[in-house]
Symmetry: C2
Subunit: 289 residues, 2 copies
């Protein structure tokens, strides 16, 4: 049996085909331009195979509410060409097979819990800190869909006393993403993260914001692990700084595993999302077979 | 068939016995003193009945992790006599029947989704704002247990510009509970909430903190409804103020139901917890029968 996966990102779509053991037969990367152009290439790739199911992890916001009329759509994305695109419907129309549908970050969280850093747990949060901040949530071995899907990157945080930068978020200004995603680091100091010294105060500010988020996620969800990925998290010096601020802020109130094994770097690196999509495809197949 | 329920609060234990239709046969309130004294009265009450299962919703923090050695214990509560009390074990030893085990606020959330304001939904959050702030979470019709249980009342919030009160939380000072629970209102203004006029600035400050919490809960969990209970929420003027601040803060970023049917007063009033405990007892019975 073969399954397909679409990790649909804002700059590229990664598509893959694997067998039941997740051994990847072929994998392609397709630029995200217009739905017509991008999906034509996606379909041309999958048309070569006899697939039993597909899993989609899409950039968002997307509609994940099966009761909604726009279930399966990409909704109010700033990428105008993709607004109100009926993604799930188009894929189902083309192949008439079971299709799993969630956010790119939920897919990554699912990949990490099944095959990555959170393997063996039943709950985890995956956060990516890059050009934006997003996150996915797995509880009881399932990705969370409620009225919509989690948007972990936009929670409110308190100002670091040395930070006067206004924030980049077009909706909230200085929410977590507005203050701590890559563009905020660059605009605050005039240099990209990679260009800042490891001992630069930027990292203490960054860790302060991320630690507040980790504290709030812990208080709301009580996950067994929080997995951090994305370009900014390649700065390994952030982890001890996050632990320091987290300990000061939480002040022992809630028990968690030791921080070094609770707030951890992602295990699958750039493969978390596509792995999660393949797993969702297999789950979807098993639901109907 | 009869089932029992224990809603174990910090000042009183409410115990009830009902049939499968949740029709309550008898209900008692027992003061929370020492485990020996309180549990003696609890057992004397239940000993009168032939019960098939019991559901416990306990004040916390409690251990809800079945892999833990202290699973079923009340853990680090400030109520010294109850620290490290093996609550679940004691009840199971006495009756040798299935026993459901969660927090008092998770039980209330479960009551509200099955029989109260959130009836018909599959996910909801229940928040009580009283002498403390606590909350429970139901996702996919189940209460959330991860590494521990949610502690929604202690998330970090931003200061209202007119508020200089230090906060009452012994762990975090000015977390949500520290700034917005009943004692904070009283200490900030020298009057109890009930003694403050409806138009007092206290309510705008209170609503600002609660709205931040509602925004963060929405971004993290995407529930279908948030139900608010507890003494402070009896001040009905808070709801429109919460909606105003929530709208300003969220700024249209995430779609939710209309706020008036999304952030709502509890439906079961003081019966949410005991109803949830009875339902947990029935669930526990069905798992093994």
């Amino acid at each position: 049996m073969l399954v397909g996966a679409i990790e649909a990102g804002g700059t590229k779509f990664v598509c893959a085909v694997s067998d039941e053991q997740l051994e990847i037969k072929e994998r392609v990367s397709i630029p995200t331009t217009t739905p017509e152009e991008t999906m034509k290439a996606v379909f041309a790739f999958f048309d070569q195979y006899e697939l039993s199911a597909i899993g989609i992890g899409s950039f968002g916001p997307i509609d994940v509410n099966p009761q909604s009329e726009t279930y399966g759509y990409i909704t109010s994305t700033p990428k105008v060409a993709w607004q109100n695109y009926p993604f799930l419907l188009k894929v189902k129309e083309r192949y008439n097979i079971p299709v799993g549908w969630t956010t790119d970050v939920n897919a990554a969280a699912y990949g990490e819990i099944k095959k990555g850093a959170a393997r063996g747990k039943s709950s985890c949060i995956y956060i990516t800190v890059g050009t934006g901040i997003g996150g996915g949530v797995v509880i009881d071995n399932h990705v969370i869909h409620g009225y919509g899907h989690p948007e972990l990157g936009h929670i409110l945080v308190r100002r670091h006393p040395e930070d006067e930068y206004a924030g980049t978020c077009p909706f909230h200004g200085d929410c977590l993403e507005g203050l701590a995603a890559g563009p905020a680091i660059e605009k605050r100091f005039g240099l990209k993260g990679q260009e800042l010294d490891e001992s630069h105060t930027a990292w203490d500010i960054e860790a302060y914001y991320l630690a507040q988020a980790m504290m709030n996620y812990t208080l709301v969800l009580s996950p067994e692990m929080i997995v951090l990925g994305g370009g900014v998290m390649k700065q390994a010096q952030l982890f001890p700084l996050i632990y320091k601020h987290y300990e000061q802020l939480m002040n022992g109130y809630v028990a968690t595993p030791k921080l070094e094994s609770y707030i951890v770097p992602c295990g699958l690196k750039d493969n978390a999302g596509i792995t999660g999509c393949l797993l969702l495809a297999l789950d979807e197949w098993h639901k109907t077979n």
